[in-house]
């Protein structure tokens, strides 16, 4: 059983990366990736509940693959990131991702089915470089949570770089929290803090 499962995770992982590299539209990317991950989680809910590290691994290598972490990191760091090396930017992006995944991946287990994720038609100002995919996540209580993804076109196709929940963007919100900390303690200290959990972006 476990072997079969490991195989499944590997298959998803290997399969997933080239898929996103193709010229898929942002909506297709969200639809296929989120749908797949939710299906996997639904099939193996009990297993993932007992193995949070496997869950984080799955989320990191499947869902978070959509994200242009370096770009997100540069946006959050702003002018404080200008003197940082590429390695520091990269480490910062990964540390931020890990913090978010550690904190929120458990929430994915509350999903009952793929139908709980609804993708709204495109609206507003979209360019051929920048767009937003708006989704609604149905909640058990009867309401829904609006979750939007900002995408930009890169050489590897469309990549997401920001998530907004109820209109509150991670990047916009973290920017003003992280900036002063980097100024005060330096980027390496903030990366270490994110890793150890002593630096929070929104507390919790």
């Amino acid at each position: 059983m476990r072997n079969l499962f490991g195989l499944l995770v590997c298959a998803v992982w290997l399969f997933g990366t080239p898929l996103t590299a193709q010229e898929q539209s942002p909506e297709e990317i969200i639809q296929s990736t989120a749908g797949e991950v939710l299906n996997i989680l639904n099939d193996q809910k009990a297993y993932y509940r007992d193995h949070p590290e496997e869950l984080e691994h799955l989320v990191n290598h499947r869902l978070m693959d959509l994200f242009d972490l370096d770009y997100a990191a540069r946006l959050v760091l702003g002018r404080h990131g200008r003197s940082a090396s590429a390695e520091q930017i990269n480490a910062f992006g990964i540390a931020m991702r890990d913090l978010l995944v550690r904190r929120y991946s458990q929430g994915l287990l509350d999903f009952e089915s793929e139908d709980q994720l609804q993708i709204l038609p495109l609206s507003g100002k979209n360019s051929d470089r920048l767009t937003r995919v708006r989704t609604r996540v149905k909640l058990g209580s009867g309401g829904f949570a609006p979750v939007d993804y900002a995408f930009r076109k890169t050489d590897q196709g469309w990549r997401a770089f920001d998530v907004s929940v109820e209109g509150i963007s991670y990047i916009t919100t973290y920017r003003n929290q992280i900036g002063p900390q980097v100024q005060q303690d330096g980027i390496d200290a903030v990366i270490d803090g994110l890793r150890s959990g002593s630096v929070g972006v929104d507390g919790n």
């Binding site: 946006l75 702003g78 009867g142 900390q181 929070g200």
Partner: protein, 241 residues
């Protein structure tokens, strides 16, 4: 008697405003949206102190003795009671069809939903709009307004602070307080609302700068409401500077 009370309050606020202005000037963290930061920070400190001393303990007690389903019902009731303001503001913004749908929601929840305690409209897939006079002022063209931390009421903007007068005029709970000197429903409303925020306060407390965290989250959430869930994308490229 009432005018005396108001006078005393005005005096108290005046003192607070002056003392906040006298505090040392630091560079503004967001000069465009928050040019009154030093005043706002003073007011935030004041609000936090009032909250710690009075409101939060009461809200915690209320939260403890009130079972979750009851709280939900009360929340539905209060939301329904404020719905006429949403209906009027939808109409003021020219959203007549939505205003009609909102009226249907209000009637359904007030009757079948037993005075609004049960949100049957949501179960029937009737959309739930959220409008107020501040949003109407934004729709009429005042779309950018400076952040303003109101005493007692918390985060707002100049525009939304002014919009409050319109909301209070319509709101039945505020009317009771204003016309009948009956403050108990208003106090109850405030305590209930505060109790609903208890689960979110940890994030605020542990933020590097809680004032900025609250401001940024509130302004974004407000923009989201004004644009009915479809605000323009932030100017991300600007963030790189």
């Amino acid at each position: 008697m009432r005018s005396h009370r108001k006078y005393r309050l005005a005096l108290l606020l005046g003192t607070l405003i002056l003392s906040a202005c006298a505090s040392t000037q630091k560079p503004l963290s967001d000069p465009d949206n928050d040019p009154w930061e030093s005043f706002n920070r003073g007011m935030y400190k004041f609000n936090t102190a009032v909250d710690r001393a009075v409101l939060r303990p009461i809200a915690k007690g209320y939260d403890k003795v009130t079972p979750q389903p009851v709280q939900k019902g009360i929340g539905n009731f209060l939301h329904n009671l404020s719905y006429p303001a949403t209906i009027i503001n939808l109409a003021l913004q020219g959203k007549f069809k939505k205003s009609a749908i909102g009226t249907g929601r209000f009637v359904l929840n007030s009757t079948v939903g037993l005075l609004g305690f049960f949100d049957v409209a949501t179960k029937a897939d009737i959309p739930d709009y959220d409008e107020d006079f501040g949003q109407t002022l934004a729709a009429w063209g005042w779309d950018d307004s400076r952040y303003l931390m109101l005493p007692f009421f918390g985060p707002s903007t100049l525009r939304d602070g002014i919009g409050r007068f319109g909301n209070n005029y319509i709101d039945p709970i505020s009317q009771l307080a204003r016309q009948e000197d009956e403050y108990r429903p208003l106090i109850f409303d405030v305590v209930h609302t505060r109790a609903g925020l208890l689960s979110q306060e940890q994030a605020l407390e542990e933020a590097f700068d809680p004032y900025i965290f609250l401001r940024d989250a509130w302004l974004q959430s407000r923009e989201y409401d004004i644009y009915d869930g479809d605000p323009p994308l932030p100017d991300y490229e600007d963030f790189l500077d």
